[in-house]
Amino acid sequence: MAAEPELITAVIVDDHVAIAAGVRYWCEQADPPIRLIDAGARLADVWTGPGAEADVVVFDLELVPGQPQFGELRRLVDSGRRVVVYSQHADDATAIKCIDIGALAYLTKREGPHHLVPALRAAARGMPYTAPSLSGAIVADTAPDRPRLSPREIEVLRSWFASSSKELVAAKLHIGVKTVDTHITRARVKYANAGRAASTKSELVSRALDDGFITIAELNER
């Protein structure tokens, strides 16, 4: 099937066949459908062949169980790829770290097509997508250098996490669905451009990784 210009292409890196098959089904059912390339567990297929042309990379953070591959994520982001992290991992620190590194979306595998498909569409346009799980992670973030969010933004994020429905959030807070989106996006932008030393530090770290000064294992201990 020849790719039409408006058709979104995504490449998935995930060692679980069932996940890839499920995501493929959701992509086919989406309207308009999304073309999915299955790279299996081979990261190389994201860099070469049809995978290299894909608009969005769906990235399983734990190709090796217990070892989140922040280094690979960083390399993808640094080379300008639009990455949606799709992870088994549900802990807040991991989610925030992925956003810090520059992933456009972070979704846990419990979040189904209702969130993955919009995330893929947003990422294809270069826009971030904030899923409820990430929203919860941001609300629960207590890091001393976390970005300052307004009480309204926190309220919206908390409600989005709790209800997983923007209509319900809008009804509860007596605001429009668009306003809900605005608050979520604004909070998310603060996190992406947090002004933390992360952007320069990430470059430093990935260079140190490339040069073999530190290992992935050491990095994960932090």
Binding site: D92, T142, K172
Partner: protein
């Protein structure tokens, strides 16, 4: 622990007192009286140096005992060598006593007291064995080396009565004292055990009564209704009331579990009830929060269990917490619900419905204290 400790303390004080008394008596008899008798009749001994060596041996044993008394330590492994030293000193002394007049010799009275000082904390039979050994030693000495006649035997027997009698009395008293203090300690332990059991039983009873009261308010009318037929199990309203009561009971049982995060633990139990009816429940928690008191947890989980009991096919339960706010939310495909009235003033409940979905949120703001 109070009574047991007191009993042990009393018993150890008594033992120490007795030990000091025996040490003083032994020192008085062996060292003071012994030295007086020894020097007064020094000219009659064939080998005075042996007598002084025996005296020095007893003095050494008593000196060690004095140090041990001060430091409040037992003899342990040194006990046997010390007793052997006392008996050896006695044997050496008797061998060089002139004319077989052992029963008036300084050593005859001294050895038993010194031996008793070493063996005071041993069982009575050990002390008796020592006293007999010493007596036998003296008697053999008399019998083998000297001629026995009525007078010497009578003299020996008379001397033996006081020499054995007094230390034996003390040993018996020490034994009795030890038994009494052991019994007292055992009695105190038993008393404490009974008291603890009683306190546990009273607390458990109070808790059960309280729990029964809590359940009986809502569960009992339901069960009565089902029993007398005024409530029909096929009625969806009755079914949901049953589900709510089941979840309440599960929560009640879960409340006493020792867990790190009681709120989540209880929510999991509530979710389990819905899970059993085939509702797909998702439970997600974010953040850390101070553990709310039981009444607050009930208010927070009440919302969840009410919604879960009436959920059709799916439900999402979430907890977001921080130091200043704990929020429990349930979203599910259920119709309109009556909001359970929170019992504590710090808890607020809000409901939003739309498109066949109901979202209930209970939030608790810990009062700053």
């Amino acid at each position: 622990m109070g009574d047991v400790e007191l009993a042990q303390q009393t018993s150890s004080q008594l033992h120490r007192g007795l030990r000091v008394a025996v040490l003083l008596t032994a020192s008085g008899t062996a060292l003071v009286l012994g030295m007086i008798n020894l020097t007064r009749r020094l000219d009659r001994y064939d080998l005075p140096v042996v007598q002084f060596a025996a005296y020095a041996a007893l003095a050494a044993v008593l000196a060690v005992e004095a140090v041990l008394v001060v430091r409040d330590r037992p003899w342990r492994g040194w006990r046997v060598p010390a007793v052997a030293l006392v008996l050896a000193a006695a044997a050496a002394s008797y061998l060089t006593v002139p004319g077989g007049r052992i029963h008036v010799d300084w050593m005859f009275g001294a050895a038993n007291w010194v031996g008793l000082a070493v063996l005071l904390d041993r069982p009575l039979r050990t002390v008796v064995a020592f006293l007999c050994a010493h007596e036998l030693l003296a008697f053999l000495n008399l019998a083998l080396l000297y001629e026995i006649n009525r007078y010497s035997l009578a003299g020996f027997a008379t001397g033996s009565v006081t020499v054995i009698g007094l230390p034996l009395c003390v040993a018996v008293v020490a034994g009795v004292l030890g038994r009494i203090s052991e019994e007292a300690a055992a009695a105190a332990r038993e008393l404490e055990r009974v008291r603890t059991e009683e306190a546990v039983a009273v607390a458990a009873h109070r808790r059960r009564a309280q729990r029964f009261a809590e359940v009986s308010e809502t569960a009992a009318p339901l069960l009565e209704g089902l029993a007398d037929g005024s409530l029909v199990p096929s009625d969806p309203d009755v079914q949901s009331r049953c589900a709510v009561e089941a979840a309440r009971m599960r929560r009640l049982f879960a409340e006493t579990d020792e867990v790190e995060n009681p709120l989540l633990h209880e929510l999991r139990h509530c979710a389990d009830i819905a899970d059993r009816k085939g509702v797909e429940v998702e439970l997600d928690a974010r953040g850390r929060w101070p553990s709310p008191p039981v009444v607050v947890r009930r208010d927070l989980t009440d919302v969840a269990l009410t919604v879960l009991a009436t959920a059709g096919s799916w439900a999402r339960v979430t907890v977001v917490g921080g130091d200043d706010l704990v929020s429990v939310s349930v979203v599910a495909d259920c119709g309109e619900l009556t909001v359970p009235e929170p019992a504590t003033p710090g808890v607020r409940v809000e409901t939003v419905s739309g498109g066949g979905t109901t979202w209930m949120e209970a939030r608790w703001q810990p009062s700053p204290s």
